[in-house]
Symmetry: C2
Subunit: 344 residues, 2 copies
Amino acid sequence: MSIMLREIKEQPAMLEKTIRAETKKLDKIGRFLKDRDVDLIVLVARGSSDNAALFARYLLEITCGIPVSLAAPSVYTLYKSRVDLKKALVVGVSQSGEGSDINEVLRRSRKFGAFTLGITNNARSEITKTADETLLIHAGRERSVAATKTYTGQMLHFYLLANALNSNGRRLGIEKIPDYAAGALDLEPQIQTIAQRYTFMENCVVVGRGLNYGNSFELALKLMETCYVVAERFSSADFFHGPLAMIERKFPVVLFGAKGVTRKSNLNLLRRLKQLGADSFSITNDSAIERLSSVSVPLPENIEEELSPIPFVIPAQLFAAHLSAAKGLDPDKPRSLSKVTRTL
Amino acid sequence: MSIMLREIKEQPAMLEKTIRAETKKLDKIGRFLKDRDVDLIVLVARGSSDNAALFARYLLEITCGIPVSLAAPSVYTLYKSRVDLKKALVVGVSQSGEGSDINEVLRRSRKFGAFTLGITNNARSEITKTADETLLIHAGRERSVAATKTYTGQMLHFYLLANALNSNGRRLGIEKIPDYAAGALDLEPQIQTIAQRYTFMENCVVVGRGLNYGNSFELALKLMETCYVVAERFSSADFFHGPLAMIERKFPVVLFGAKGVTRKSNLNLLRRLKQLGADSFSITNDSAIERLSSVSVPLPENIEEELSPIPFVIPAQLFAAHLSAAKGLDPDKPRSLSKVTRTL
């Protein structure tokens, strides 16, 4: 078994351990931040961590009503701008904790008055010395170059933060996530069969919307890293603004189809794809989406949309790992990549 | 000549006319917004307009120091969230002025206390009735499905807004932009020759960083719409986080290489591509970048980085239009697309 596959399977345990170890700390930070009257959340990350941040922007705006901005690191690191962040919370996300530009943004935004948090899997890394507080993922070392357990660990921390910042008292049912994740892992045999079908796929488009938009970026990145598939990623809303023109080339569309508010737009897209004769592969818990797709991985219907992103990305991770194997590649050895990326 | 090509060539006149007609209004709005003490700018758009917004996020943060967030429309339209925007300026960008979700976000954010602006090319559209103030692009009707003159018109309005909001008194030399644009058009014969070289290109990666990051998305979109090329877009910083693994497939990288703070990262990328034996095509005014590229379009050295995005995107537009012709396609008739996209 590849390291990537092994780490994918460690996720339910990691999720449970992280909830147990970190909830109290998050609640304390939440009380502190409410007193500070935070009016803006800035998220800063690169690679997979940036995809977790993309998820978080939806989650935090939807559940807390605080506007969120995904930082452009070069504004701080290259252009050296003085951005007014007096009442902002800035969250840096870095698996290794050593991303130089992430740490530089945290340093500069502290100087501009922001309160800073670092989400990392490495308790002894630079980010823990840079941010005001560290939120630790309890994943053990991640050895695979393709991040999996740290991606969902980062997402989990954003759930904990959303609960801690939420002022209307409504709690998300975070404690259900580890079980949902375990259930998703049980789908592996079906996913392995589906991966066979795509052995010779060279291009694809990954589509997700709302809370699952970040997942579409994450699957696309996994496909590029481990399968060398040219994977475009779009919101099903943006897809009609141009990219649809490519689709008659008949390359497959992979869709995150969680039951919920994005349903109508996902169904519209699938109907349009059907007219165009395009192939579609859906990860879904919605029987109407299943019926309109060429193939699908069916998740339990009872998964709430707001809790869907973690259980829905797990079949996607499994798909990338098995597709890599089907293509005769080694997902643990992506060409030209290294685990820690230092950009400035 | 295609409609797309004709409209590309109308840009210098459009830019000049828009500067002349709109500067006063922008300055008045700027004074009003400074009194309001705006502490957040939210930009909302889709398609090409969203690429203009991506440019604007860099420009506004760099020149005004006000944090910028690119809105996720579904947070407002599908999830119906109440985002706290009391001291925010929300700018909707829509060529047609009829994008239903853009207008819905403006409506909701006005209700939540924001001041709203609409940037459009259509003085009689819905957005002009929805936003507090309209910023008009003076481009005449855009008939090509692939937006060109309205994209640079939107960028220009963000320059005018940046000047109007800037409290340090430093003015960008916006009045030089129409001449720079005219100079870029003169490069058409060279670009036409380069386009021939890529006649059989099916995939590519477009790379830009900082102020030219939005342009990389825009060129990728043009290539998808008019040439059916699967075009990935990345920041040269993110490129090392995964996508680089695909590059040994030897598909070309198109780079926006404006002289300035992104230079080092662009040179690093080109050196890495050279090691990997990949093809590169640069739009650049930096002789070092030119030397490291397989082919390049050379722009005048004296173009300042902060004014580069409009003159640099024009060769990219010309490239897409000529590549479409080289491939035997009609850039004015992209498959499956319509000019006005209504998403909710």
